[in-house]
Symmetry: D2
């Protein structure tokens, strides 16, 4: 089928290429005229025939918001917008509602697969009305792996980004589990071969996984990870997962622990721990008018 692709960066550009490889006709638009097929969104819309399908692959937040708004003014009733970026699931509903007023349909798609997706296919998780998802099904089929799998219609509008968000939250927890195991083995005076231990787990154990494969690879290159700083960014999805858990009264202690560990990794010095230090100073202090209690600061004979 024919569709418009807005955003031709690493993700959108590769997806457009894969779609073309599979026989679809893609009109691409990007701020970068070098890679863009058209000069404006309006021109892109003009190059498609109603009912049109436009796939957004631009950063979440303002860029997606303004693209949705602009498309709302350009598209006709019956057209379809698919947001394949990393939007928050609540935003999806706002976008869908705004477009609905103009009769434009909306599907959200969480996309997994990164730079290897062009060749191996992407994981696609979508949310929206059944008929809208069905209409775009040829596009999803072309994007997902040739051998099948990698696709789910998870629910109504927002469900695609919601499950992609949860996927990333789970990813946080799994990574943290491996990280804690690594640190414990390294901290002990018992384990001489940490990389070999991880490598041995790739066969016949419960923890075998793609993340374990990646970790073994990383340890082959740098067995003690000396070349790295213990500093980790977090993406929006990790935060959103925790906030969604709180909104839904779901205890999510492991995923939250993983998120907080990343927060802490980026602090030069912890303000909270300054408070602990301050209180410990006060325990032993001179001006404290009442009883005190600290086994460490009050050494005993």
């Amino acid at each position: 089928m024919k569709l418009g692709m807005v955003g031709l960066g690493k993700m959108g550009g590769n997806m457009a290429a894969r779609l073309r490889d599979k026989g679809h006709e893609v009109v691409g638009y990007d701020f970068d005229p070098q890679v863009s097929d058209v000069g404006s969104l309006a021109e892109l819309v003009g190059r498609l025939e109603a009912p049109r399908t436009v796939w957004l692959m631009v950063p979440a937040g303002e860029p997606t918001d303004s693209a949705v708004e602009e498309l709302g003014g350009l598209l006709d009733a019956g057209d379809l917008v698919i947001d394949g970026g990393n939007s928050h699931y609540v935003k999806d509903r706002e976008h869908a509602d705004a477009l609905k007023d103009k009769g434009v349909h909306y599907v959200d798609a969480g996309v997994s697969g990164g730079v290897w997706g062009r060749e191996n296919g992407y994981g696609i998780m979508v949310g929206g009305a059944a008929e809208d998802v069905a209409r775009a099904r040829p596009v999803f089929d072309a994007l997902t792996p040739d051998e099948g799998g990698g696709f789910v219609h998870a629910g109504g509008v927002g469900a695609g980004h919601f499950v992609k968000m949860v996927h990333n939250g789970i990813e946080y927890g799994m990574m943290q589990a491996f990280a804690e195991g690594f640190e414990l083995m390294q901290a002990s005076d018992i384990v001489d071969d940490v990389p070999g231990t991880f490598d041995s787990w790739r066969e016949g154990t419960v923890v075998r996984s793609w993340l374990l494969d990646l970790l073994v690879r990383a340890l082959e290159e740098d067995p003690e990870l000396e070349g790295l700083r213990g500093y980790a960014q977090d993406s929006g999805e990790g935060r959103w997962t925790v906030q969604a858990a709180v909104d839904h009264a779901v205890p999510a202690p492991a995923i939250t622990a993983a998120l907080y560990a990343r927060f802490a990794s980026r602090q030069e010095d912890s303000p909270a721990m300054k408070v602990i230090a301050a209180l410990r100073n006060q325990f032993g202090g001179h001006a404290v008018a009442t009883a005190t209690d600290d086994p460490v600061r009050t050494p005993r004979s």
Copy 2:
């Protein structure tokens, strides 16, 4: 080579069978005379020629302790004991020290693979002196998968059980991450197809893993897990991992969260939460002589 196998239950029995399949000669001893080749540990020792190798596959704690002690009195200098059970790594050192006094060597082996190990091979993680590990290497090679991998000599005595313990701790964290993701998707009013979502993740995503495969299988059988109670046992290794983390001053929040979630799952009612309820009652209570502060219990106009 020839070796003694003490304990012929599900694990020891299968391991003995696999070793025999691979051409090793195994003399087995078990309390159950139906499966035992000999009537006593003494008879087992008598059937082996020095330098002997005896593999223990009995429960950790008292059973292993007494087997080690009895073997200490029966074996000769130069013989080798391998503890393949789930002993605590600190116990390994005690066992090794006790046997060392008699010149008997000691290797600890963490074994992974359960009921499928006989056919597919076991994961084996060992701790001990290089020459002792080398001596038993033919046994390890027969037990591990035919296609290679699944073996590590992790360090000195105790290292095998230590890394097996850490493996299980990581397993706890990974399982908890999937569990939290499941609950969040189920709790939301957004996701209509939770089993399909997990299934779609098996291709092309970061979280693909053997645990995900198992979860998809479980959800095929019971899509909402209605047939199960939210009740989870914990094995010794999870607790030991947390305690080792505390001993080594290693923050392990995700693994600990997983352990605590299991603890809580087994409580009919939480004593801690009774305290929270009691305090909240006191806030709004009649006899409280001072200020109070609770936005929920003190409804406002």
Copy 3:
């Protein structure tokens, strides 16, 4: 001074009474005609002289939103609205912006003190412009304890509700710490006198606090808390604290643990723990085609 009080429930009614005791003139409005001085917000506004001061003491969310909106249509430039309810700090900014368009000033006030505040005074934490706070200062002075203290101008609009929210988050963490200590003492076979232990801590220890006093009182009435269920509600502030921590990349593991413990306390059965149970079943299961590993489900000889 003269002011309007909207919402004459437990909180608003008592605050109005305290203000009158201190010589202020209060015109009160409530849906309940029995306690209301006027029949409508419009009548309340009509009874005050510009520049007017109107204190809102109605539930957060829709009731406060609509009161702010209606007042926006009734008040004149130069008038002042004080929101003393439990609004979210982000809402404060929206309310302030909406009123600003009409020249109406806005101050948010977090109020602590519950049913005992009328007699003992309230803790008041406010946010807003210095001149607006100064204008209402006589009201704050009348509401706070006679002996001084209990007041802070924490920052601009939203700061009052923000610090009240943080106060409640800290309260969650403190309560959870006592709760965990109680459960540990009760679970041990070592401590025979748990209530006596808490009571002994009221003198000369680091943990002495109003919450400890309340706990001792609760244990006097019911030494093992047998009459209570381990079930705890949570107020909006606990959730908002965690979400604010995530928004600001602040690790807040203890407060979050307290919130999650309350979530879990309200679950009949934990969906997450069903996943753990399901995975554990799969480990030992018959149809599992690959290796397995679970020390508990695969008993060893």
Copy 4:
């Protein structure tokens, strides 16, 4: 009554002084001859009449172990040893058993109060047989505050140190709650007066406590705690509390979070977070043969 005091450091010395002020006769022994009344433990024992009472106030671990052992050889059946140090509760049972063989009685005493205890009295939590506790009661009465309170006979041998350990665990959780609240207020762009906010909470709020008083004092001296590093030691009791919780299958997430935060505060760089960084590198990496998924490292259009 007459008793021996072993260890005359900050704690033991002050306690001996307080006991003498209250009319008790104390024979003190310390390695430091300047403060010691006798030259050896043997001489101390010789200076007391049977049935003797000897209070140990020496560091936990080896110093206490060897003092107990030496006293076992010097004392007579019917004599009493009180360990007022910070011993682990399991050690108490070993000490009591060893002394019991010789007919010597044993009581453990958790002592709170630090440098201010001499004047204000100490909190004393004891474990042991009722008759042993009764015998030493005059000593406990002299040590606890004049106005009463501060004493509990918590249970059998070990109970005193157990509840002191739990007290310190609760203290960890409370301190962490304040610390997180401080960091959140400081991190926001909303709160202009953090010290004033804490100060305002001292009247009429749920969180009022001695720790809050100490924090306000610390912030008076250094409003942003700029002079401190976010670095916090931990005492044995915090670790022991978590390990006891794990032993008793008690979820203790808030106390554990507090302990782990201290662990993390002492790390120059986090090995666990290096693993997270390494895995994130692998996601986007060149040699990765399969799919990848990272919204941050794979910027989109």
